[in-house]
């Protein structure tokens, strides 16, 4: 379709359908004659749409519905759709998707329900619950947040700017008008398509702006430093404090990998010889399967191979099928405990044993870790 719109061909629009020129071919000619003899063709402009229509002595075949084309354009030609979309967003200064992250429940769960378990919150020996604001303060202290986010935080709090944009959109919103019936050149239809996509994007974004304004109203009382932290996280999509961290999964929208570092640790073999294992990150994703795995290329008796992203071999572990803070904490703990404390040198439990057994299967060896 894109090639047709880029070409110099003339296409017919009839009752919100695009009709493409029918190629001249003796066989097609014959078929048309049969069709014409069976049922007379309607003239353009009639409400009932035919499969083949004649216009200015040429035949055109019904190709696709314009509404459907616009609504599904993202799926039909993702690259072109995103180009149109970005063009439109840039025009209206709506390129950042910050607001969505402010309402991202998954991120909020990670920050305010999971992370507090794994990081030191209290500077003294009394144990008290730390509020969400306290967590944001802590992040601000421990993470070096670039100054630009503090400047943006002030802009974020200025609702008037956003209201102005909304008003501007309402006034300048291009009308989504269907092309008139009749002959249209490919480039002309392409230009119409661009406007139609812009209109669709603006309609979508207008809803987002209204929502965005509501969100920003909610954060109006928040300290700019806290907003700066959230803006930074929205951009970076990753953070690590005290060996606990998370990273946004760019392949799956709105999903994250949550991890905790093991730190260096020692395991002992059958003969009580020590092996020093390097630090690695035990992770669980925010989407199924909720099984712990090691992010790095790593070897361990509970890992089948020596590569990245391996699930940890666990005994009597049934992964939860629901994303909750409690489940993520437990899953990470199971993985950490398995790796650090689960191997029993006497039982040699695992895919591999640290020491070479009498019937040695040359799989993964750990001699280089021996101390």
């Amino acid at each position: 379709m894109k090639q047709l719109l880029d070409s110099d061909l003339e296409l017919v629009v009839e009752s919100d359908f695009i009709y493409m020129p029918l190629l001249f071919d003796p066989e097609i000619e014959k078929e048309i004659q049969i069709l014409e003899s069976e049922k007379p063709l309607g003239s353009p402009g009639k409400p009932e749409s035919k499969s083949i229509i004649a216009f200015e002595g040429k035949h055109f075949v019904k190709a696709l519905n314009l509404h459907s084309f616009i609504n599904n354009y993202e799926a039909i030609d993702a690259h072109s759709y995103h180009r149109f979309r970005n063009e439109c967003l840039r025009k209206y200064r709506l390129t950042r998707e910050v607001d969505g992250h402010f309402l991202d429940e998954t991120l909020r769960t990670i920050l305010f329900r999971i992370m507090p378990y794994f990081i030191k919150k209290n500077k003294v020996f009394n144990r008290k619950k730390v509020s969400d604001e306290g967590i944001l303060d802590l992040i601000g202290e421990k993470i070096d947040i670039p100054g630009k986010y503090y400047i943006e935080a002030i802009t974020f709090g200025d609702l008037n700017a956003l209201k102005e944009i909304l008003k501007e959109l309402e006034n300048q919103k291009p009308l989504f008008q269907m092309p008139e019936n009749g002959l249209h050149s490919g480039p002309k239809l392409r230009d119409w398509l661009r406007k139609a996509i812009h209109a669709k994007v603006l309609a979508d974004e207008q809803h987002r702006i209204i929502k965005s304004l509501q969100i920003r109203e909610q954060f109006r009382q928040a300290k700019p430093e806290h907003i700066a932290v959230l803006l930074y996280l929205a951009d970076a999509g990753a953070m690590e404090i005290d060996g606990f961290g998370f990273t946004r999964n760019n392949a799956v929208k709105g999903e994250y990998l949550i991890y905790k570092r093991t730190g260096d640790y020692i395991l002992k073999d059958y003969y009580a010889r020590s092996y020093l294992f390097p630090d690695c990150r035990i992770a669980v994703s925010t989407y199924t399967p909720y099984r712990p795995f090691v992010i790095e290329k790593y070897k361990h008796p509970f890992l089948l191979g020596h590569k990245a992203g391996q699930e940890i071999c666990m005994k009597n572990f049934v992964p939860s099928n629901e994303f909750t803070a409690e489940n993520v904490i437990r899953t990470l703990e199971e993985g950490l405990t398995a790796m650090r404390y689960g191997y029993n040198g006497r039982q040699r439990n695992g895919y591999h044993s640290l020491d070479e057994m009498w019937v040695h299967i040359p799989t993964t060896t750990f001699e280089d870790y021996r101390i």
Binding site: K121, F125, N126, Y265, R346
Partner: protein, 127 residues
């Protein structure tokens, strides 16, 4: 100081043995645990396990502390207390390191983890 040290920690000076002892029992891999503070003279000669029991049986706990104790209790169902990667035995001083508060007050610190085992993999049946 890492958990990788195999030998028990005995790097405190004689005069540091007169410092208060801070015991922290952490559930699983949590960053914060239940704190027990023991003044000099109250912990010497007592086993670390006994001090742990005393800490876990503290009264008048805050809600936060009660939640930590619940977590510890859950971990200890089939689990054990570990310090520096080993099951605790002996006295607190054998595991203590000297630390100080932001205000510069020195104390001896012993971190203990309540770990519920996760025996990953399978048993080869070789003993």
């Amino acid at each position: 100081m890492t958990d990788t040290e195999v030998k028990k920690i005995l790097d405190i000076d004689e005069d540091e043995k007169l410092l208060p002892l801070v015991l922290e029992i952490l559930p699983g891999h949590a960053a914060e645990g239940l704190i027990g503070i023991y003044e000099p003279g109250s912990y010497e000669g007592k086993s670390l396990r006994k001090l742990c029991d005393r800490t876990l049986n503290k009264k008048n706990l805050s809600i936060e502390e009660q939640l930590i104790v619940e977590d510890i209790t859950r971990q200890l169902e089939g689990g054990k207390l570990l310090s520096r990667g080993q099951e605790i035995e002996g006295t607190a001083l054998e595991y203590a390191v000297s630390e100080q508060t932001e205000a510069g007050e020195k104390y001896l610190y012993v971190p203990i983890r309540a770990i519920k085992p996760q025996e990953g993999g399978w048993d080869w049946g070789v003993n």
